[in-house]
């Protein structure tokens, strides 16, 4: 498909600068993933006990619930400490795991030095259109305050700021 056909809004970007050296930043992000990942950012039916990124290309990205159950979120596509991590996001429009890699979006996290002891972390979540049209939103968007699928009760309750 020609490059000009690619929809600009299929990529989401954000970044943050931290007062930490690059090696530590990468380590905290990955090895220390569970120490910072927001506890309400999960899809499992039970509370999350641990959020895990397996530290290798092909590794799994998932949560473990307080009852021992696991919910996969995706897989590790690139592992290049301390500068680059990429994961496949396998959660569809209803926030359920879809194993098909063709229907997964991609999250690239890049770390770069911003002076001594300072690191800029740039996140790019791309190929969002691979999740396909979210039909439930056509059915459930009408009348819903923010248009999100009704199955997303967990996220909705937390993120709908009053």
């Amino acid at each position: 498909m020609p490059a000009d056909e690619k929809l600009a809004d299929t990529v989401y970007r954000c970044e943050v600068t931290v007062d930490a050296p690059i090696d530590l930043a990468f380590e905290v992000f990955t090895d220390g993933f569970d120490s910072w990942w927001p506890r309400d950012h999960h899809i499992g039916a039970v509370d999350m006990a641990e959020a895990i990124i397996e530290p290798r290309r092909g590794g799994k990205w998932y949560e473990r619930g307080v009852d021992g159950s696991t919910c996969e979120w995706g897989s590790v596509l690139a592992w290049d400490p301390p500068r680059h991590l990429a994961v496949a996001w396998h959660l569809n429009g209803e926030f359920q795991y879809d194993p098909d890699p063709q229907r997964a979006s991609r999250v690239d996290i890049r770390f770069s030095e911003d002076g001594p002891g300072r690191t800029t972390v740039r996140l790019e979540h791309s190929e969002l259109d691979r999740h396909g049209p979210s039909w439930p939103q056509l059915y459930e968007g009408v009348g819903s305050a923010n248009g999100w699928p009704l199955t997303l009760e967990c996220f909705k309750a937390r993120l709908h700021r009053t």
């Binding site: 929809l7 943050v16 931290v18 910072w36 950012h41 039909w135 056509l138 059915y139």
Partner: protein
């Protein structure tokens, strides 16, 4: 006097203006999606663009029938059509994209802020 068991009478529903309004884009899209073959076509072109001929090859129906389905999907705003010479290419228009982006706009900044706090705490502890 014993009460007589009788079914409650329903008030006759009045015909409101709402029953005769123009269909909304959602109505049009829903009607387009009622047909299973159109849903299957949409699945095929989600995230990738395909020419009409290749879409038709996936189904056991005539090419004009597929073209008709594609026309309905296009009118409903569910696919985009691009002409390249004699070929027409179709791609699902990502309806839920705006919602997904809105979600990510809250999701990722919150996550990265939490990461920042943790990384900086670790950095301070290391000095």
């Amino acid at each position: 006097m014993s009460p007589t068991a009788s079914a409650p009478t329903q008030a006759k529903p009045t015909r409101t203006k709402a029953t005769r309004t123009k269909p909304t884009p959602t109505d049009v899209a829903l009607r387009a999606l009622v047909e299973p073959r159109r849903r299957a076509i949409l699945q095929l072109v989600a995230g990738r663009e395909l020419p009409a001929g290749e879409i038709a090859a996936h189904f056991d129906v005539t090419r004009p029938a597929i073209s008709q389905h594609l026309g309905v999907l296009k009118d409903a705003g569910l696919v985009t059509e691009r002409r390249d010479g004699t070929r027409r290419w179709y791609r699902a228009r990502p309806e839920g994209l705006a919602e997904l982006r809105a979600f990510l706009e809250q999701f990722w900044p919150a996550a990265l802020q939490s990461f920042k706090e943790r990384a900086e705490a670790r950095a301070r502890a290391a000095t």
